[in-house]
Amino acid sequence: MGATVLGALLVVVAAVVLIPFRGQTSTATDALVLMVPVVAAAWIGGRRSALVTAALATVTLEVEFLPPYGTFKLDLFDDAVALVVFAAVALAVGTLVALEGERRELAERRADKIEALYEQQRSLQQEQERLAAEKRALELIGDYRSALLRSVSHDLRTPLATIRAVTSDLQVGADYDDATRKELLDLVVDETERLDRLVTNLLSLSRIEAGSLEPERQAVALDELLSARVRKLNRLLRDVRVQVDVPFTLPLADADYTLVDQVVTNLLENAARHSPSGGLVRVRARAHEQWIEVAVSDHGPGIDPRERDRIFEPFQRGEGSTSSGVGLAICKAIVEAHGGSIAVRATTVEQPSGATFVFTLPVHR
C-alpha cells in the first residue's frame, strides 16, 4: 500500500517538475521520467503497486504531456501510438521489476532460513560433543571403579586364601611337628600384615580420590624413620640383605611422618617382591640444597624404560606381578602432595638391571 502511495506521489512530483518545461521537452523525455515512479513502486511494492502506478503514469502522460493538455483527447495519431507503447512498456517493466523484487525477497528469506538451520545444527553438534565428552568421562570413572574393584578383590583374596587354607588345616588338628606348625603360623602372620598394608593403601587411595590428602607437615628425622620401618618389615625383608645409608648430618625433612612412612613401606615391599633371594636392597638418603633425595634400590629384573612412567598410574601391574597396582600410584600422590617428585631408573648403569626408586622431600626450615 505504502509503495502505491509513494508511486502516486512520485508521479505527481514528476508531473509538477516537468509541466513548466513541457513545450521544450520531447514526449520521449516525459515518458522516461514518468517511468521512474513505476520502477520504484514495482521494486518496493510488487506487482499491484506497479500496475496502479503504471496506470496513473499513463493517465498523467496523456492528460498533462500529450496535446491538447488537460484533456483526455489526442491531436495526433503518433501520440496515440506513443501512449499505447508507454502503457505497454510501463506494465512490462513494472511487472519484470516486481517479479525480480519478489525473487530477491524469496532468496533473502531462504538465506535467513538456511542460516537459522545452520545455527541450529551447530548448537546441536556442540550439544552432541558435550554429551560425548561427558560420556567419555563417565566411562573413565566406570573403568577406574571396575579396575579398583578387580584390584582390591584380587589383593584381598590372595592373603585370605592362604589364611583360610592354613587355619582350616590347623583346625582339624593335622599332625604337624613344631617347626612346621610355626612355619604355617608365620604364613598367617605375614599375610595378615600384608592385608594391613593393603588396607592402609586403600584408605590413602580413597583420601587421594576425595582430594583430601593434606600432609600434616612436621620436622621428620628420616634416619629414624627409615631404620624403624626396616625393623618393622623384618619378616617381609628376611630373604634380602638391607643396607640403610643415611649420613647423621642429613637435615630434617618437612613432611608428614605417617605418609612418608607409607611411601617407604610400599617401596621396600616392592623391592623385596622383586629381589632375588639374598639380593641387596639399599636405602639411601642425601641432601641437595633445599631437597632431600631418598633412593630405594633393588637388584631384581628392573623396569623397562618404556614402562617407567606408566607404573605410577593406578592398577598398572608389572607382567606376572602379584602386587596390588596401587602402591606406586599412592607413593606418587603422597610425594607430589609434599611438592616433591618420584621417578625410577636402573640400579646399575653399565648393564642396566635392578630398579631404583628416587623421591624428593623438602628440607625443614
Binding site: L160, A161, A165, S168, D169, A174, E191, G320
Partner: protein, 236 residues
Amino acid sequence: MSNAAKETVLVVEDTPAIARALRAALEARGYRPVLALTGQQGIDAAATSEPAAIILDLGLPDMDGTEVCTRIRGWSDVPIIVLTVDDAENRKVAALDLGADDYVTKPFSTPELLARLRVALRRRRGDPALPADPVLEVGDLVVDVAHHRVSVAGADVDLTPKEFAFLALLARHPGRVLTHRTILQSVWGPEYGTETQYLRVYASQLRKKLHDDPVRPRLVTEPGVGYRLVDPGAHP
C-alpha cells in the same frame, strides 16, 4: 608309610604362601609334594615326577591354567584338581571339559581340598571308570547297571531310562563333579551340550525319587558347572 610308597602330588601354584601351606598339609598326610610356580614348570614336573595327582591353580603368571590342563591331558590321565576364584566360572567349566577331574574355589578349606584329592586318587587306583562295574554303590544307594535296577536303603526305586542313565553316569564317578556338557553328551547324545534345563528337570525328579534330604542331598548341584553324586553319610 614308607618313603617308597608315598604318592607324589604336584602342586602348580604361583602364590608362594599357598604353595607352602599345601606342601605342609600334604607332607603331614603322607604324600610327597612337588611344587611348581609357573605353568611351564608344572608341565615339566608332570612329565618328570610322575605325580599320582595334580593340584593346578588356573591363574598362573605365564599361561592360562586351562592350557596347562590341555597339555598334560595330551599324554596323561593323571587326576587334576583345579583351584579357581569365584568369578572365573567359565574357566572352571572349561578346565573340567578339558579333562580336569574336580575343582575347588579359593579361598578353599584345606580339609575339603584333601577330601577331593582322596576321591581323585581312589578313582585312579580303582576303576578307570568305564569297564563298568555292574553294581555301583554310593552309600545306601545301589545302582545295578546290568539289570537297570536302583535301590535306596534296600527299597527299589522306579526310574525312566534317561533318569537311570543320568544317575548311573554320576554313580560311576562318585564324589566327582561332571559338567553339564559331559552329562548331556553322555546321556542325550553328542549333539547336545547347552540344554541345562533338561538336567534341572531330571535332577529334581531324581531327588524326589531317591528321597534326597534337601539339606544333605546325594545329588549335589554345582551352580553353573554341573552335578556330583555323594554319599551324604560320609564325612568329607
